[in-house]
Subunit: 103 residues, 2 copies
DNA sequence: TTGAGTAGTCATATTTTTCTGACTTATTGT
DNA sequence: ACAATAAGTCAGAAAAATATGACTACTCAA
């Protein structure tokens, strides 16, 4: 739950909110993997063997809430739920490439 | 080498390190303020009245370590220690402006 | 019917980050 | 001499993030 304090701070500093899109454990890695192919819960558990269910579930939820990923149900039995990059997510990629460039 | 459809990416993720430049409490705000004028410890305590000494000290140290700020001793008595944007810090600004633009 | 795959949730630890208040060392002003 | 400002440091407490292991609910193949 967001406190009053956090809201005031977020309003006063745009960068802070932006960084929260991808800050949090495994979120950068998941965002990376999503650039190659849609990501799925159980596959991520295998791709990131040191991650745990909980963190991956939280990361997927927050990446979706941040508008970087879109959740999508694939009609296979059993149902597959995949997360693909949103339009916004795609726009973010070249910007992070620039940041990588100046390190 | 086996042809693995599900590739393991446990270790390297360039974005992750980049985000750490500015993730941490008060670091985005301090970076913002540093774009206006050099920042100083005690002045930050007044500019960010909800922050505490410890966090500001840590933030300044880490922003310096990340190469975004440069520490500089001003020969006033008592000595003033100010932190100014580095070249790299200046290069980061327009990139974050782009990120702000797509929200 | 049993076992394995799908995608999670939940309560409880453990770990990491942040906060609090006392303390330091040096200089200036009254 | 004493209070105020500079720039911090430190230990311990509180809060937040992350990890662990058990559990749910559905489908498929043997």
């Amino acid at each position: 739950m967001t406190t009053q304090k956090e809201e005031l701070i977020a309003e006063s500093c745009p960068i802070e909110g932006l960084l929260k899109m991808l800050s949090g454990k495994w979120k950068p890695q998941i965002f990376q993997l999503a650039q190659e192919q849609p990501v799925r819960f159980n596959r991520l558990l295998r791709q990131l063997p040191e991650a745990n269910k909980q963190s991956i579930a939280v990361a997927l939820k927050e990446l979706e809430e941040a508008g970087l990923l879109v959740k999508n149900v694939v009609q296979l039995k059993p149902l597959h739920i995949e997360y693909v990059l949103s339009e916004k997510g795609i726009l973010v990629i070249p910007i992070f490439r620039q940041l990588e460039g100046l390190v």
